[in-house]
Symmetry: C2
């Protein structure tokens, strides 16, 4: 559970940046080298590498170095784990409304807004 919380912390932190989200989106189309990934951004390579580092630390991407070329790959499993957090929230709301239905059925007459 704590591991899961820590994983969610780092994943949501990684996603809280437009450059990093764009990298994730690009890697959804397939693996790419760091130079390919950096190309669309007007950013010094060391700054860009920091973003890659944050993504890799979060487990959202992996990378492999062959000679001087580092190739990055999206880890969809980790992204799916973050998405499940949202699904869980919606499931909890739904169960709340189920309870509310039960409550309303057991009542007659007026209900206030709460």
């Amino acid at each position: 559970m704590d591991n899961n919380q820590a994983a969610l912390d780092t994943v949501f932190h990684a996603l809280a940046d437009p450059t990093r989200r764009a990298v994730i989106q690009r890697l959804g189309q397939g693996s790419a080298t760091v130079s390919e990934l950096a190309k669309p951004f007007d950013m010094a390579l060391p700054s860009f590498m920091k973003h890659i580092g944050v993504l890799e630390a979060s487990g959202l991407i992996g990378s492999r170095k062959t000679g001087r070329v580092r190739t990055c790959t999206l880890k969809k499993k980790r992204l799916a784990a973050a998405e499940r957090w949202f699904e869980k929230q919606r499931a909890l709301w739904a169960s709340r409304y189920d309870n509310l239905d039960t409550l309303l059925e057991s009542m007659t007459g007026d209900t206030d807004e709460n």
Copy 2:
């Protein structure tokens, strides 16, 4: 688009903390006062209020003060906007696999792993 990116930045940043995620989860069950929200956490009130401030700045929650009591409410619309980012990624992967299917159909014989 930039507004949307900035909104995603603040929402994902807000979600990158277990206390703030727990507050979101609690508010999914209905509105609550700050004291009610703070109760489960072993945290000084000023620290807790900072979390509430981050959540409010992200648009994930709203709050209303009546006398000395501040009541917080979840804004599900903003949470749904963040969830849609994940859905968009999956839709992009799906379209990629559609393209891959088309490519494979147009080919005969061996395909490599890429």
